[in-house]
Symmetry: C2
Subunit: 290 residues, 2 copies
């Protein structure tokens, strides 16, 4: 009989991740707030639960990936939440991107009920989720990570232990700063190229291998040239992550002026109804002014 894994949150990331675990032969019990999203997974062999609590009753290992800190608290701790069905010694692995402090608070409250917890946010997007090539950034006790590792190995190509609970979220916040600022550079450079009358396709072609190079330039530069801002990673979601970043920075007395510029450009996108576009859509905040 295969091991049973609980999986909470079947969005653009969670659905393909749960599918990978089903395909790997695990018995997977799934929950999603919008129940219809569970149907394709049930068709693939999963069992659906009506509440997070019911997921936890059936599994020693429960993974979750939802949108924001309040969502994670809701599915894990609120009425009907997973903690209320947790088996003795269960391990919860939250793969959402939330505030490090929220992760620490969840860890404390779960610990009071005898539930082990690690935070394990991911990078690599929906493509990484489908292909099992995510990078997984883990905060928590090393022995808890070791316990989750065989399952996480089906989801990610790289698993990094970052420190105690919350440390995975801290590194994820750093990653979102890098993504946001690399996009600011790309947006301003592309706008200057157009204003200066050169072919913006020269940027990814001639500059990607040099000191100005980045994943953003190489992968998203050609999409900006084509004015293709299909997501990818959505502006509304990176804005949520950058709010987490600024809350951390505020608490630490760190003025992150560059991150604030990225937020301004993305806010311009949102003000123009472009929040559901990919982050490369930032180019629209400048490109037309030239």
């Amino acid at each position: 009989m295969p091991a049973t894994i609980g999986f909470i949150g079947l969005g653009i990331m969670g659905a393909p991740m749960a599918q990978r675990l089903i395909s790997a032969g695990y018995d997977v019990v799934v929950y999603n707030r919008t129940a219809s999203r569970a149907e394709p997974l049930v068709a693939a062999g999963a069992r659906a639960a009506a509440q997070p609590l019911e997921v936890a009753q059936q599994a020693d290992l429960v993974l979750s990936i939802v949108t924001d800190s309040p969502d994670a608290e809701a599915v894990l701790l609120a009425e009907g939440g997973a903690v209320h069905g947790a088996r003795k010694g269960a391990l919860f692995v939250d793969m959402s991107t939330i505030a490090p402090q929220a992760a620490r608070d969840i860890g404390t409250r779960l610990g009071q009920r005898g539930v082990r917890f690690v935070d394990a946010p991911v990078t690599g997007g929906d493509v990484g989720a489908k292909n099992g090539t995510l990078s997984i950034l883990v905060g928590g006790a090393p022995e808890d990570l070791d316990r989750a590792r065989p399952v996480l190995g089906h989801l990610g190509a790289r698993i990094t232990h970052c420190g105690p609970i919350g440390a995975g979220q801290t590194l994820k916040a750093c990653n979102q700063i890098l993504c946001a600022l690399n996009m600011v550079g790309l947006t301003e450079a592309m706008a200057l190229a157009r204003a200066g009358g050169i072919d913006p396709a020269l940027l990814p072609e001639a500059l990607a291998a040099g000191a100005g190079g980045s994943w953003a330039l190489e992968k998203l530069g050609p999409r900006i040239v084509a004015e293709d801002d299909a997501p990818g990673f959505m502006i509304d979601l990176i804005q949520k992550d950058l709010r987490i970043v600024q809350a951390m920075a505020e608490a630490a007395g760190l003025p992150l002026a560059g991150t604030a510029v990225a937020q301004s450009y993305f806010a311009d996108n949102q003000a123009h109804g472009e929040g559901q576009r990919g982050t490369q859509g930032m180019f629209r905040a400048l490109a037309r002014r030239a």
Copy 2:
């Protein structure tokens, strides 16, 4: 008898570039404002000229690489400048990083004297200059680039024709935006990592291969972790380049708020006597506040 090449400007970039041409077997006539910098090249087989004018008298192809727009105008156009010794049909290749408009003005004034001109700024730093692996960004007539190409091939691994005169400088300006903003991201992410209590070495180790990845993160991230800000590319020089960027942006009506943040951080470095440090020294503008 080998072809003779003129070479003006023997700084951190020009000296190793001229050396490569000597090593390739060319007869090289050199000029530098501070004459002593020509001595090692003369010892290697170059001939020294007392003025740019004398360089141009002896060569059909004259390369120059100096610091800023006024320096390029001085060595090419002022009294004693190369134009006053130019052979009929000579080709001047200016590899300095200057304003696109300055390059266009130089091209116009040289053209009035029957001298062909291309702008050909480079990326790749002193290491690229030594190893002949520069990326050369060329603006000018395709036939002029073709004429220079055999010689440029000893200096660069990649030669990109960007458009008419000035277009090389425009793409170089775009590159400097990318370098500056990737460094802003790295600086803010590193500062948040330290403030959040995680090992900043995790950033290059765990994030360089992902969507937050950049040349800056991979190559300069470990140096920031080690607090090593030896240049590399100097803060004073990228500030000069970013002033060119902002002058272009101002003329085009483009507000480059992210570039302005990079300038602020680098100005903080300069205010603290760190202008001769490498650009990765930007980390000092934030790292200690946490």
